[in-house]
Symmetry: C2
Subunit: 186 residues, 2 copies
């Protein structure tokens, strides 16, 4: 393989807000030239495919301000400082849906935005769900949408689900249900 690495020469924070930490780094390219790389620093997130006892997938519906539309998604949230991804999973699942999962399986890590963010997402399957009470972030408004997998896959095909983490989670469960893929840690 070719040597493709870019090396950091200097780094500065150009914006720090309530949510976003934006960096601008000067880098040395593989041919020795110098360029700039601007990107978001992100603590990482956990994404959950919750499967109800009915075998339906617990999709959620949420307004997404940057896009200006409501997106059909699966539960997810940022990892708090000092939290392990498994802890984030249980906290976010409860906050966003009210459910707790008695069985969780790690599926994979994905990178949603490699051009301008270092965000990594840990994708989990959550099964044996028990109903509880939700207690969400005070500025999150979420609607639950239990949906059979086959119908959710059609919603992807017809462009009704466009959120990448939901698409990947649903495709993954499809592979597992067909018996074609096994979770990696089994």
């Amino acid at each position: 393989m070719k040597e493709l690495t870019e090396s950091k020469l200097s780094s500065k924070q150009v914006f720090s807000g309530r949510l976003l930490d934006v960096r601008s780094d000067e880098v040395s390219l593989p041919d020795g030239a110098v360029s700039t790389r601007e990107y978001i620093r992100h603590p990482g997130a956990v994404v959950i495919v919750p499967v109800l006892p009915s075998e339906e997938i617990l999709l959620i519906h949420q307004f997404r301000y940057p896009m200006g539309i409501s997106e059909i998604e699966i539960p997810a949230g940022k990892i708090d400082q000092g939290e392990r991804p498994e802890e984030t999973l249980h906290r976010e699942l409860k906050e966003e849906t009210g459910y707790r999962a008695e069985r969780t399986t790690f599926l994979t890590e994905i990178h949603p935005c490699i051009g301008y963010s270092d965000e990594k997402m840990w994708l989990y399957l959550a099964e044996d769900l028990k109903e509880g009470t939700s207690g969400g972030d005070e500025d999150e408004f979420i609607e639950l949408m239990p949906t059979p997998l086959e119908e959710a896959l059609k919603m992807i095909m017809y462009g009704q689900i466009t959120d990448v983490k939901a698409i990947i989670g649903l495709f993954w469960v499809d592979k597992v249900r067909r018996g074609e893929w096994q979770p990696r840690d089994l």
Copy 2:
């Protein structure tokens, strides 16, 4: 469905760099409370699943500075001002791989980063590829990796492909090759 819309009260640009345009808006929530939304404004991008005459998928390998690693991806690029997505497709495919496609099919739109970016990606299949010469961005260093679909899917399962646009493009082609899905515009 519940009313979930958030309305803009005010908007300001908090950073404008070579690549990133960062906004911070004050918004009114569905319950009337006021909150802040920080996000990237992005012109949109085109993502291409190039299929070689050998039926292999033309993956690419590229260092991604924000992640600090080389990612296995498929060709993609930002839409230039005034460009139609089909034009971006042909420009980026040539720049990144040297190939031109005699047949292209729109597959879907995806949103990679709905929490903090308005980026939309147009996903296309590119077939009947003819070899040409690549002429890339001067600060892009890209290696071509023609790969059979079955092998590429295994690379997803084993976590060797983590880039969301590549994962979704490959899953989609899998559905099309199995005859389970048809492109929407047929």
